[in-house]
Symmetry: C2
Subunit: 245 residues, 2 copies
């Protein structure tokens, strides 16, 4: 008898995405430190839309056209741009109602590789409960695509993916068959009571601490600060309430 | 100040191996269910050497030359071959002193992709303590290469890799910087008191149970049944005591 439950699976990095694509209706892109947390913060602050671009060249073209553009590589703001991917940069009242452009090391790349294959939705810890509730309502096959770090696995994205998949599986309407999804769930369960402590030794947290970004880390690891659910339509992300899906 | 400790890292699947290669002196290939467990069982039973081959065609060529050849695909013995990768097949007294040829879905592939880049050593739970003790003595940079399942992450190989890396890191002479290594260690720690229970839901365990291979699973998940350390020299694996490294 065929299993009528929908699937929710976890893909550890964009590099592994070719092994997962084509099987999912919704792809949740996750880059906890910090792109998808910053995107959620931006929508929470009332931006109209956000254009994720892969290359610095594209980001520069938008800048030349007068857009407000953020660009980050290796954790730092790219020279010549107004901001990088610190969530705090997106809380500026000047950005309300604006369209913002963003290019980051890992997160915006993941958005663009997933784009042809399904509905792309932005996931982070800061919009966790709102996102999982919305995913449960959709009742479709969901892939959590972790952005990782330079194509490699990272802990914080995996834990966020584990939190999403565990919430969906717990409804009884979803199941996971991949070992990566089971591992993400196990890692989430052992991390959930103390994200900061658990990620103490994570490679990207060390990278950001070296850049004096401890406040960013705390913000990004604090769940449920907003109810926004940014969704890609065409080349732009919009808050889901503004979309007629 | 440069860190004088050696590195021990975990690569989740052969697909990710290009992101890790060239940085390690020793590559421990792990395929707990069942290729590397079977290889250790074979050396424990006194075989002289083992030739890992990637394709069924190569396996057939060796068969035509009179070798004893095992071949497995998708968990089952390939038609026309004497055995697959059940460890019990390799306990046959007739194999003592012989050279055996083996081709499997994942494990022998990993051995062959790692071959050009460093000393290839066979890891499993059944030779865990002997292997880690030997690795500690070598004091070189070690990559644990999980064979996974069809290029994807699997739990049992990752847990074995986590066991190896945790033992090495605990000496103080090794450290890990990759998040994959940290996750493998966390997964090992939560699994170590009950491998069978922990892996209950793992995808490959389900696959093998469907093939009535429960006895194989129990054997492969029982640590420290042998002290053999199979090492690749040229195209063949030998027990390390028979090698002049």
């Amino acid at each position: 008898m065929e299993d009528s439950r929908k699937r929710v699976e976890v893909c550890f990095s964009p590099y592994l995405y070719p092994l997962f694509k084509d099987e999912f209706d919704i792809i949740v892109v996750i880059d906890v430190l910090r792109a998808t947390s910053a995107i959620c913060a931006a929508f929470d602050n009332g931006i109209k839309s956000l254009i994720p671009v892969t290359s610095i060249e594209e980001a520069k073209e938008y800048q030349a056209k007068g857009y407000k553009v953020g660009a980050e590589r290796g954790g730092a703001i790219v020279e010549g741009f107004d901001f990088g991917n610190s969530p705090y940069s997106y809380m500026n009242p000047d950005l309300k109602g604006e369209t913002v452009v963003l290019s980051t090391t890992n997160g915006t790349k993941s958005i663009n590789i997933a784009k042809p294959d399904g509905l792309v939705v932005i996931g982070s810890l800061i919009n966790l409960d709102a996102l999982t509730e919305w995913l449960i309502q959709q009742n479709k096959n969901v892939l959590c695509l972790c952005s990782g770090w330079q194509n490699k696995f990272n802990l914080e994205d995996t834990i966020c993916a584990g939190a999403i998949s565990e919430a969906l599986v717990n409804t009884g309407d979803f199941h996971s068959i991949e070992d990566s999804s089971i591992a993400a769930k196990y890692l989430y369960i052992s991390a959930k009571d103390n994200y900061l402590g658990y990620l103490k030794s994570s490679s990207h947290r060390r990278r950001l601490i070296n850049l004096n970004l401890n406040e960013d880390i705390k913000y990004c690891l604090t769940p449920n600060q907003t109810n926004v659910i940014p969704i890609l339509k065409g080349d732009q992300l919009y808050e889901h309430k503004d979309l007629d899906l």
